[in-house]
Amino acid sequence: MNKEQTIKELKNIVKPYIQNQEAFDALTEDTDFINDLKINSANLVDIILDIEEKYDIVIDNEAMERMVNVKSALEIIETKLSEKNQ
């Protein structure tokens, strides 16, 4: 998995839900979905569903718990993709 590429894809996924353009433009691994991008918590579920659909993975409750920033999202995508390809 190419991290740069995944960050790019993730940016496309979160884009419709962000409410802070500046933080979005400056997005890094440390960017927080709620505190920085000001994404509504009810829209986090949309992001999770969008990620599941994009990568054809299932984000279980345990993974969902950690889904609050870019870093965790990348880790979860990577883990679930490698599980899928085993």
């Binding site: 839900y17 509504n40 009810a42 829209n43 579920v45 569903l49 599941e52 969902m64 889904m67 609050v68």
Partner: protein, 163 residues
Amino acid sequence: MIGNDIVDLALARKESNWKRNRFLDKIFTVKEQLLIADNENPEIMIWNLWSRKEAAYKIYNRETGIRGYFPLQLECSYENEISGSVSIKGNTYFTKTIISNAFVHTIAVVKKENFDAIKKINSNETVSKANGIPFIIDKQTKIIKPVSISHHGRFWEGITLID
């Protein structure tokens, strides 16, 4: 400790498509989904239960320092449209919900008697944050008071507890 959450129904309609496949499965327990399905107005029930979970999460987060996205662990016990409680890992928080045509607003408290001590704060009050927890300084007593603030679309609600 207190928590509150407001949902602007017009904005929620625009922002969220709850009919989306698996949307409800990710955030509501089977029991909660039955309440939604059985209600004549499922949309209002969704935001009613959701605002309860969010308001309770604010207390849980502040009490335990635990942060995350675990709506299924915050289980609603629904008494009626107004009253109920939310439980998570042995903690129970009591909720009171106000529903209008335009919004759903829930206040969560640790003890039921706290409902009588809720005071609204104005949006022009200076709210600061310490360790992520918002507070105001009482003008007369100079005492630091934790507050809970919720903002969605057209609505802003801030609350604190009277001593």
